[in-house]
């Protein structure tokens, strides 16, 4: 009962933040509503027992990637308003299209009903950091190393692309 109430509360915050991202004119407001969505998602991950994923969602996504977005918006002094010409086609075709896809997915999912667990304080048997570390450094070691090379390439790419041409 408490789980359902909490899920509905955080779910409404997520959807409200996402719709606010859609409706706002200035990109800084969109960025901050995306931060709210990510925070609410971190709390939903806690409801699912994924404590480590919730922590890194806040540290990495909301605390580093979105800070990068906010920095770029502040530095470029991105314009206050954006024009909507050329996006009328997107509105007319895209709106109904996306609504149909979302409705189809919802209808398919409503027809299966398994129940899900919750988070625990203290030793638990699911979602613990040791277990994720064991998987990450044994079974998924190759993707982990490849990811670190990917980050290195991204750092070099960002530095090269962001340089001023003299």
């Amino acid at each position: 009962m408490v789980h359902q109430a909490l899920f509905i509360f955080f779910g409404i915050i997520c959807v409200a933040g996402a719709i606010n991202l859609l409706l706002q004119r200035h990109p800084i407001n969109s960025a901050l509503s995306l931060v709210v969505v990510m925070g609410a998602l971190a709390l939903i991950y806690l409801l699912l027992g994924a404590e480590f994923v919730a922590a890194i969602q806040v540290i990495v996504y909301a605390g580093a990637i979105m800070v990068l977005f906010v920095f770029v918006i502040m530095l470029l002094n991105a314009g206050a308003e954006e024009r909507s010409k050329g996006s009328h086609v997107a509105l007319v075709l895209g709106g109904p299209g996306v609504a149909i896809v979302a409705g189809l997915l919802t209808w398919v999912m409503v027809h299966s009903n398994p129940q899900l667990g919750s988070v625990a304080i203290g030793p638990s048997d699911f979602g613990e950091t040791h277990a994720i570390a064991r998987l990450l450094f044994r079974d998924f070691l190759l993707p982990f190393e490849v990811t670190s090379v990917l980050i290195l390439i991204a750092i070099m790419g960002a530095v090269v692309l962001g340089r001023k041409e003299n």
Partner: protein, 360 residues
Amino acid sequence: MTTFIVLAVVKIALVIFLLLTGVAYMTWLERKVVGHIQNRWGPTRVGPFGLLQPLADGVKFILKEDIVPDSVHKGLYILAPALALTMSLISIAVIPFGESISVHGTSTPLQITGVNPSGGGHPLDINIGLLIILGVTSIGVYGVALAGWSSNSKYSLLGSLRASAQMISYELALGLSLVGVLLLSGTLSLREIVDSQSGNWILGGHNTHIPHWFIIPQIVAFFIYLMAAFAETNRIPFDLPEAETELVAGYHTEYSSMKFAMFFMAEYVNMITVGCIATLLFFGGWHGPKLPFLPELLQSLLPVVWFSLKIFCFMFLYIWIRGTLPRFRYDQLMAFGWKFLLPLAIANIIVTSLIVAVWG
């Protein structure tokens, strides 16, 4: 269920009250100590030894005129100091101050987010307490960044960009320096990290009477943590973004009275949080000599006294360094963080993990 809620509310109210009083008297301590370092008295007029000075400052902040310039972005202007202060206060919620305390049969751990298991026994803690504090520190960067941008002024924007770039650069060194302690203790839960520091170091079968604190194997990590924490809380020698001789006052140039006080309080609460983490991870938390001649209630409060003494030492260190060192230039600051602290922290992790793997 209701006892849990009532106890949690009581603990929250008590901790916030004590914390904010501590912040107020830390300003007094800072002015006195820096004054004595600079061979002058500090506040002496208001009350004996100037002890009522924080009260006078509080009244001043409340009664000052709250000036909001015309061209600011109102929503973000008001959100930024509130966000900074809120995030500072949230990180206190996962910090354990001691073991359990029992009054009239109900017992509760001395931690806002701790529970006693229903079968009795050791208090339980959040499994990821340390990650929560790191996450909340990352969100605190938004307070600084948005304050400068919403003020719609050159000095504020430059100051806030510098401050937030400094904070996110030193967050890396901060997090990595704590990994050494995590390797030694094997857990992210703050209470369990303190528990793994109980007892003494056993060297080849002999009980050296040195406490099993992690400061001894992790001395390099402790210094990296201390320097990164000084940079995170924007204190001297890393306080270029808010120095009065640079950029007017940086990101809080356009703020007055209560909102400025909120930034001020957020900075001091961050200092206290840093002191708490250093105590918990490197200095054994609330472990200290036991005094068996005290009554039962005072015995369960004794760990809190040891904890507060250790935090007081850290606050004194902060203030002492403030009175002594000059400040870094911005390029020196960034080079120090990226080119010195970060490789040193990674080297510390490599050496610690090799030692743990080879010698258990």
